[in-house]
Amino acid sequence: MSARHAQTIAFALLALSTLLVVLPALFMVFFLVRNGLPALSAEFLLGEPKDGMRAGGIFPAIVGSFCLVVGAITVSVPIGVLTAIYLSEYSSDSAFTRLVRLAILNLAGVPSVVYGLFGMGLFVYFLGFGQSIMAGALTLSIMNLPVIITATREALQSVPPSFREVSLALGATRWQTVRYAVLPNAIPGILTGVILEVSRAAGETAPILFTVAAFYLPGLPQSVFDPVMALPYHLYSISTQVPNISAGMRYGTALTLVGLVLSVNVVAIFLRAHLRRKRRW
């Protein structure tokens, strides 16, 4: 086989596998939109489920998922970012920081159902939150932490060391250096981590299964200690527990879930693009 043939074959293989990555994504979106779009209506999006969830809307589940995502991100982003700043900007390599890094790695490898069981044990029973938004959001936030921390650390480490040097040489304290010279340049990278975790918090079923999700609960939560319906669990329930339900209900729910994640991410992506335009090096 000549070098030229090898080149052609290699190129074809590369192009083919790239195509294989794009196809499922396109297919999924196409399928969801084609089957789900007809089901979307004002009543579906803003109404309560009726008739054993075979009719009506999914508004309580939308609100529930939204609360969980916002709750999880509100807890995990500050803790994760501060931890990453400590690890990357303040601490030296010590037994303690090695332990912390090991813990983060381990958290990243824990299956999501284990988070669910852990959350049930700690938040639902031990701390007595019951099945509630509080317990669910906290469970999701722990699941989010490793990615937020890792993304933030990588973002901080990609900020050129000269920025820190200049800032310190101008007489800034270490905290001022982090706050004004390093962190602003790391925010786009941090947002990438946040975007990933918004999708995970919105989409995971296992961690909320035992901690918050209600099978059927019309009406909206009154406090963070109320259980709620959530989109992924609702999708799971109507697909497995409710016989004789129209496919439109299922695809509509799935499309709404994807849409919710997408709309939260679009905000973050625009914010990131805006911040990147302002700072380039």
């Binding site: 030296s92 200049v166 310190l168 040489a169 304290t173 380039r280």
Partner: protein, 290 residues
């Protein structure tokens, strides 16, 4: 005292700071290891200073006095410790893990490693210009405002004034006054390096440490930055590290030659370049090595 007219450093008109003269200093004043015509005021005094990176000794028993409002050049081959010495003066070496020092560095008569000595206060007094121009990826204005802001100036009018005064001092104001909002990274390298020098000025330093400030610049830009240095020594003391001997001989009043962590020779630039006392200095400046 800090009314800040024409960017004069604080203490410019206050006369020499009063401090007790030690026996050692008195002896030195009589015999005088540095044969200067008169004894001008010293801004930095390095006494028996040693610095170790782990087991490696980078600076060996350095003794030198840097004269106020003059340009002092430190020359020597790569790795001789000249940048390390420079970075010791504003304690930037503190950031390198495993650094140990012995001996003293006095800035304005105060031991910078002494009890209660704050690197933050020291670095306000001692500004640094780096080898590569390193503006923040922000606008010209934001770069200039960084110093005043971290030191607690937030009034818009004050910041604007500081920005203008700083840019005027490095002769950038006329070029950039209409482009203050442009990204600092869109400037030419020379403008960037000038901006980096200007960025120090609102903090009101007395001493400027320049670590090969022209090595990223073309000859024409280098010449202009050298002119700027000459102009700035009216108000500031400057220590410049350079591997460019012509630069040292052109701009500096005093020159120190370093080799393998030792300060081999220090004196008036004219003297060093015409009648070096040490054969190693002579070998280096005549281009036999380095």
């Amino acid at each position: 005292m800090n009314e800040g007219n024409a960017g004069k450093p604080p203490g410019a008109m206050a006369g020499p700071p009063r401090r007790t003269v030690t026996a050692l200093e008195a002896a030195e004043r009589v015999s005088g290891p540095t044969p200067l015509a008169e004894a001008p005021e010293t801004i930095v005094e390095v006494r028996n200073f040693n610095l170790y990176y782990g087991a490696f000794q980078a600076l060996k028993n350095i003794n030198v006095k840097i004269v106020r409002r003059a340009i002092t050049a430190i020359i020597g081959p790569s790795g001789c410790g000249k940048s390390t010495l420079l970075r010791s003066v504003n304690r930037m070496n503190d950031l390198v893990p495993g650094v140990k020092t012995a001996g003293q560095i006095l800035v304005d008569g105060e031991d910078i490693h002494g009890l209660g000595a704050e690197p933050v206060a020291l670095r306000k007094k001692v500004g640094m210009v780096f080898q590569r121009p390193n503006p923040f990826p922000l606008s010209v204005f934001e770069n200039m405002a960084f110093g005043p802001r971290i030191h607690g100036t937030f009034r818009k009018s004050e910041i604007h004034e500081a920005v203008e005064r700083g840019l005027r001092a490095v002769l950038l104001w006329d070029e950039l006054k209409d482009r203050l909002k442009a990204s600092a990274l869109s400037l030419s390298l020379e403008q960037q390096q000038r901006l980096c020098i200007a960025r120090l000025l609102p903090v009101k330093p007395e001493l400027l440490l320049m670590d090969e400030p022209c090595s990223a610049l073309d000859p024409l830009a280098t010449e202009r930055v050298e002119e700027l240095m000459q102009e700035m020594k009216e108000n500031y003391s400057i220590v410049v590290v350079t591997h460019n001997m012509q630069q040292a001989s052109r701009v500096s009043d005093h020159t120190g030659f370093m080799l393998l962590g030792e300060l081999v020779e220090f004196g008036e630039t004219r003297e060093i370049f015409t009648h070096p006392h040490d054969h190693r200095t002579e070998d280096y400046i005549t281009g036999r090595f380095g």
